[in-house]
């Protein structure tokens, strides 16, 4: 049986019919992004950690506020199969995502990755976020509240100042952990839920602030 790095749930079938994948991402309103931008208004030297892959328009938009953007592209590593000689561990991976030399962050864009992580991995990441952020720093995350979710983390593209385009790499679905708000708050220990927004398509966006 294939073991996966920090994943909570794995796809039963990783094969995909390329024909069934659309090139066009689905666009939704994002009050969470709007809130983040409002909070960053006037900022030009923020330090931002993006756990997603490098998306040109995201970096372009974020660079309005940032002096440093770290693109971690964490999903691939967090969700990939474990090799036999792999010394991967939640703590080592969390440390790798937030190395000491890059300084503290003002914003972490976790996107939907928390849905896919085992609790110990999620806890290690958030612990690292706590260590590498100051009071007032924020985390933005999207939690699936419907029964299923895409089998792989999606790619999110910021459009304008209040919309996100969702792009899936697979048509397969897996059961969603359906983390309730209280559990999300527990997992984001050290951060306070500043705002959450329930969206029509079964996603709840969270903006949490470091206390």
């Amino acid at each position: 049986m294939i073991r996966f790095k920090g994943r909570e749930n794995v796809p039963a079938d990783t094969g995909d019919d390329p024909e069934s994948l659309s090139d066009d991402p689905v666009e939704h309103g994002s009050p969470g992004i709007k809130k983040i931008f409002a909070a960053l208004g006037g900022e030009t030297a923020a330090r931002i950690l993006d756990l997603g892959p490098a998306v040109p328009s995201n970096i372009r938009t974020l660079s309005e506020f940032a002096s440093h953007i770290r693109v971690a592209d964490a999903a691939g590593d967090l969700c990939a199969p474990i090799a036999d000689d792999d010394d991967w561990s939640p703590m080592s991976r969390a440390a790798g995502l937030l190395p000491v030399e890059v300084g503290d962050f003002d914003l972490v864009l976790a996107w939907d990755i928390l849905n896919y992580l085992r609790k110990d991995v999620s806890d290690a990441l958030v612990d690292r976020f706590r260590q590498r952020s100051r009071s007032g720093a924020r985390i933005f995350t999207l939690i699936h509240e419907g029964p299923t979710m895409p089998a792989e983390p999606q790619t999110f593209e910021i459009r304008g100042n209040d919309r996100l385009a969702y792009r899936s790499s697979t048509t397969h679905q897996v059961p969603s952990p359906r983390l309730p708000p209280a559990e999300v708050e527990r997992r984001l220990e050290g951060f306070r839920i500043e705002a959450s927004f329930v969206l029509r398509h079964g996603i709840r966006e969270y903006v949490a602030i470091r206390v």
């Binding site: 309103g29 709007k34 490098a54 328009s57 002096s67 100042n161 209040d162 029509r200």
Partner: protein, 178 residues
């Protein structure tokens, strides 16, 4: 001049010492502003430090450092570099594991794969480029003085320019549920 050293795969000298980039000179058209440049060909392996006073096109492999601060450095589609690269302008079309320092700009083309940190006042990332690492554009006041691009590369479906003077500012209005 190349310093005497061990050659790999019949290519240029490969030592741990500095190697001036004065190899094969070519006129290269249509590649990231490189006019007359030295070229490190696809069959060449270099281990060491590459320095020089002219533009450089890398189609081979380099492990070490590349320092041409006043000149343009292009890692071509066949180039594989495991080194930090310093140049006036650094353009990547191939693979780089290492940090990129551009005095003026760093450009990652669609075919680029980069793992490392980028430091430049202006960074352009084309759609499809693979990148993992940090992007430093300078802190505070220096970030305000990012140079405005004078020419936008054409034939790109989507490009990113971090100086982007025309981005809409965020709407500061309140939020509500949707």
């Amino acid at each position: 001049m190349w310093k005497k050293g061990e050659s790999e795969e019949g290519g240029m000298p490969t030592t741990g010492e500095s190697v001036p980039a004065t190899g094969d000179k070519k006129r290269t058209k249509g590649t990231a502003g490189v006019r007359e440049s030295a070229t490190i060909g696809p069959s060449i392996n270099i281990k060491g430090d590459v320095t020089g006073d002219e533009d450089l096109m890398i189609q081979g492999r380099i492990e070490g450092t590349v320092t041409l601060k006043q000149h343009n450095v292009v890692v071509g589609p066949e180039g594989k570099v495991k080194a930090s690269i310093h140049g006036r302008s650094v353009t990547v079309e191939g693979t780089v594991v290492g940090d990129l320092h551009g005095e003026e700009q760093v450009v990652l083309r669609t075919s680029a794969s980069v793992e490392g940190n980028i430091q430049a006042p202006r960074v352009t990332l084309e759609d499809g480029a693979n990148f993992r690492g940090g992007i430093d554009m300078g802190d505070g006041p220096s970030a305000q003085s990012k140079p405005v691009p004078t020419k936008v590369p054409s034939s790109l479906d989507e490009k990113l320019d971090l100086s982007k003077p025309n981005l809409p500012k965020p709407n500061l209005a309140g939020q509500r549920q949707t």
